[in-house]
Amino acid sequence: MSARLTVQDVMKVASLARLRLSEDELKSFTPQLARVLSYVELLDELDVSDVAPMAHAVEQQNVLRDDVARPSLTRAEALQNAPKTDGRFFLVPPVLTDAMESG
């Protein structure tokens, strides 16, 4: 599969990852990613069907804490890095478009 990674595949993954790529990037990333994906096929040498996945190095149980109020960021601190704000809220473009509303 990976050896046949196409420009269309890369475009699809970039879209899933919310990345706009330039033409040059598409052209260079496609063979680069294909090479990495064919390299990782090395893992197919191993039969690991009986091995449990290891998601973390320290396999500890859920860590719980008491649900008590603690100091947190002030509104000004929370907003201080926002690209667009009215001083009270984070501002974003309209999420619902006309087409969606009428549909």
Partner: protein, 488 residues
């Protein structure tokens, strides 16, 4: 003795005796940075005013006879991926170019509590993704031993700053070798602690199950002292462990009797350069001359570690970096069509090529139809790699080997060839996948005059073993006392 050639212990003695003030030490480092960092490029941000003010506070408290923290007056450089409330934190990315964290990382709080002087923030590969700092969106960093070469990465700014005499101590982070490999390339000590030993609170995430903060220093004792200051349980990081922190310096001078050193045959096979192999073997011989025994061991799944890592780390990265949506912080494009286009355009414009490649690899590995074949399979192989180490440590105290296949490579050598760069991580990423501690120690020099590190690995929470073994080597060799000569 020059203040910028001294190690942390020597500087503390000078300040305790009154032969130098914290301001003297800080100013010497700032002068060194001013004279040479245009060439080296170790720092993204130098905070001279805050650093000198902190040094003055330490001096005043010392004069008043007040009690002082363990790093009082010692200049420390910090990789620019740890949040600092009073300095920008960029991750060397255009995405966070203007980001000012509203809080300190746990490591930063601990440095402040220890009365350290935080000099500034050091350069790195963007979001710590890389092995050469060439993926920094800010600037290149050059190896102080040869400015045509990389300092290694991703903590290359921190390693270069220590090697260039700009600070005795620096903080780095290690996800796949990012402390140990630059330490090796720059001829300094660099230690990756056990996963969970140092809090990740305020460490901007790359691959959360692998990321770990640790010390770089110009000697073993300095690394031990810095680790002591930053290690410990933090309730704000759910993966931080509740294991007591031992006194890392108390028994540092006590050699480990009958140290058992495992030599994995896979570490000395195809791909390792001759001059690195020779330095590493000689360093092991030094330890053997002190009574250590060597045991031939095997890590049969080592050859799968790069493949497993480059599925697991990008998968975690694709999830972690989804937060950069240009809403709460980070870059937002000026023009776009709608909300989705705002994400795509901003991320496309502000993230560098390697970050995009890793996000896409991870997105691919996690996407429907591929999850089992790629991500889940890599997690299963990860357990085999951990079991290799567990088995090996039944017979040995430490595992010794090279840090990287070669000494520092030329800047530009791996441009447009990411896979070849990934393959150079072969000796370091096993420790991240297994969660065990590892250290790189100055252990020799190639015929080109480039430093070579010896890597030692140990069982979880056996940092003290690594430091004591490292100190044994240091007492018998002079590699750690060499200082790079910088052009003025």
């Amino acid at each position: 003795m020059s203040l910028t050639a001294a190690n942390a212990g020597q500087l503390l003695s000078l300040m305790e005796c009154g032969d130098a003030s914290a301001v003297d030490v800080t100013q010497a480092c700032l002068d060194r940075i001013a004279a040479h960092d245009d060439q080296i490029g170790a720092f993204i941000h130098v905070d001279a005013a805050h650093a000198l003010a902190q040094a003055e506070r330490v001096d005043a408290r010392r004069t008043a006879g007040a009690s002082l923290g363990s790093l009082a007056g010692l200049p420390v450089a910090v990789k620019d991926i740890l949040c600092t409330h009073d300095q920008p934190t960029t991750c060397a990315s255009r995405m966070l170019r203007d980001f000012h964290p509203p809080y300190d990382a746990d490591t930063i709080s601990r440095l402040r509590a220890a009365d350290a002087v935080i000099l500034g923030k050091t350069n790195l590969d963007e979001f710590a993704m890389g092995s050469s700092v060439e993926n920094s969106a800010m600037q290149p960093t050059r190896n102080p031993w040869d400015i045509t070469r990389t300092p290694g990465g991703s903590s290359g700014g921190s390693a270069a700053a220590v090697a260039a005499g700009m600070c005795p101590l620096a903080v780095g982070t290690d996800t796949g070798g990012s402390i140990r490999q630059p330490a090796s390339f720059c001829g300094v000590v660099g230690l990756k602690p056990t996963y969970g030993r140092v809090s990740r609170y305020g460490l901007i995430a790359y691959a959360s199950s692998l990321d770990q903060t640790g010390p770089l220093a110009n000697d073993v004792r300095g690394a031990a002292r810095l680790l002591q200051a930053i290690a410990g349980h933090d309730p704000r990081d759910a993966t931080s462990v509740q294991v007591d922190v031992p006194d890392y310096t108390a028994r540092l001078e006590t050699p480990i009797a009958d140290l058992r050193i495992g030599i994995p045959r896979e570490y000395f096979s195809e791909g390792l350069s001759d001059d690195v192999a020779e330095c590493v073997r000689e360093a092991i011989d030094v330890l053997r001359s002190l009574g250590a025994q060597t045991v031939d061991i095997s890590l049969p799944h080592l050859r799968y570690s790069v493949a497993a890592y480059y599925l697991i780390a990008p998968s975690e990265a694709s999830s972690n970096l989804a937060r950069y949506d240009g809403v709460h912080y980070g870059f937002r494009a000026d023009t776009f069509d709608d909300m989705i286009d705002m994400y795509c355009t901003g991320r496309g414009a502000a993230l560098g090529a390697e970050v995009k490649r890793r996000i896409m690899l991870g997105t691919y590995a996690l996407s429907a139809g591929y999850y089992d074949a790629y991500y889940l399979k890599a997690l299963r192989v990860r357990r085999l790699i951990r079991q290799d180490f567990d088995r090996a440590f039944e017979a040995v105290d430490v595992i010794a080997g090279p840090v990287a296949p070669t000494a520092a490579f030329k800047l530009g050598q791996f441009v447009d060839d990411p896979l070849s760069m990934y393959l150079t991580d072969i000796y370091t990423i096993g420790a991240n996948l297994a969660g065990i501690p590892g250290v790189s120690l100055p252990a020799g020099v190639t015929t080109d005059g480039l430093p070579v590190g010896l890597q030692l690995l140990a069982t979880p929470f056996a940092e003290e073993t690594l430091l004591r073994a490292g100190r044994m080597l240091e007492r018998e060799t002079t590699w750690h006392t060499r200082r790079a000569t910088l052009e003025s």
